[in-house]
Symmetry: C2
DNA sequence: CAACTGAACGTACGATCGGTCGCATGGTTT
DNA sequence: AAACCATGCGACCGATCGTACGTTCAGTTG
């Protein structure tokens, strides 16, 4: 489906193009996608259904369909919304702290909150969906993988800064970021399974990474 | 619905109980479940369907249904079959090696083979399904969680033996097992996503765990 | 022999799925 | 004014889902 972006080529349109129809559509899309993120964190992006979404929100199924076209588009929009929510809840607060160990601790703290808290009722969005799509090529898988890759790169960069600042022993930042990311995902699963000691365990792993030689 | 699985109670063992109907049924169950494991590793246990399974194997949908009763029973049987295959492919070979570092290396080697190789076409069975069911209470979730817990306990015990044998620095075996398990699961996902350097990375993590003080 | 049992099939059911079509509404453009 | 467009709805389609029921057949048991 070609989006409506293509024919936005007026010659001299000094007007800010406040088409109220588009505004209304965008608003509807937002409320739908907001609910879709919750559902997808519980049942997965595959478990999303246009009909369920519509009845949950008191809309018509075809109304939802006209706004997203295909189910894959809905999945992509949902993943993108989840990504933005994740950045707002985890990444952005950490950028306030100075890069290095301090920022890393904020990142992990916010991440733990994010995994526990009611941001998504089903826990970590990517833990639930990456496993579903990792064997299913397509744009959805690509989007999920891209985000997870970005997240890991952020961890690695922050780790590198921590090492350069002497806040951690010299280590392979990429390897350590991979480990940290793995532990976070496993922590999310453990939390979902009811292992209440998962959070302090994750914190201990981070402590071990940040100060491994002193032991 | 009490299933016929429980009453495998040979009251008098001298009777061979060679009911050919039961044998035939057991054989059919095995072939069905064998295929179901493959499908579930790709599409997940939720993605299993009686109809698809039946047509794939040239059976009738109701035939499959009579053998398993409900879909949940089919999922449980599939998870159990996957568990057995996993034990055969990963755990059993490692039990030949002496417990400690040697066994741990065999475990990880076999696990990497298991994740890469065509044992399950969709990669690690639990990586694909635990994430699906961790927010969905029920017997299927319990079975998956139990297996994963057993696996982690096995890792922890072997790590403990390695420490006692002086093959690794004194460390919290449970914590290290959690980390190792997390890294293995993340390695599976990375492999599925096409990161070809995932295997040496996992090996480096294990090396780091087994010999952290000698550096 | 008759009575019973499990495997397997065929059929049918209600529900839900993603998707298409037509139509009405109201805001935008010309 | 007319032409156009995005939204949203209702009805409908073909497919598939899990499940239930009845029946047939082969093997077991009395």
């Amino acid at each position: 489906m070609s989006e409506a972006v293509s024919d936005q080529r007026p010659v001299s349109d000094q007007r800010p193009v406040a088409d109220q129809r588009l505004l209304r559509g965008a608003r509807s899309r937002r409320t739908i996608v907001r609910h879709a993120v919750d559902v997808a964190s519980l049942k997965g992006l595959t478990g999303l259904s246009l009909g369920r979404l519509a009845t949950d929100l008191g809309l018509s199924k075809s109304g939802v369909q006209t706004l997203f076209g295909t189910k894959e588009n809905l999945q992509l929009a949902t993943a993108e919304a989840a990504r933005r929510a994740f950045v707002d809840a985890v990444v952005r607060p950490a950028l306030a702290a100075p890069s290095g160990a301090a920022r890393l601790r904020v990142l992990v703290d916010r991440w733990v909150d994010y995994a526990q808290a009611p941001l998504f009722p089903g826990g970590c969005f990517w833990s639930a969906n990456l496993a579903d799509f990792d064997s299913r090529p397509g744009p959805v898988r690509d989007a999920l993988a891209r985000h997870q890759r970005d997240w890991r790169d952020l961890l690695a960069g922050t780790l590198r800064d921590a090492v350069e600042a002497g806040e951690a022993a010299s280590l392979d930042a990429d390897l350590a970021a991979f480990q940290l990311d793995a532990v976070l995902l496993a922590t999310n699963t453990a939390l979902r399974l009811g292992e209440d000691d998962a959070v302090p365990r994750a914190r201990r792993v981070l402590d071990g990474l940040l100060a491994p030689p002193v032991r």
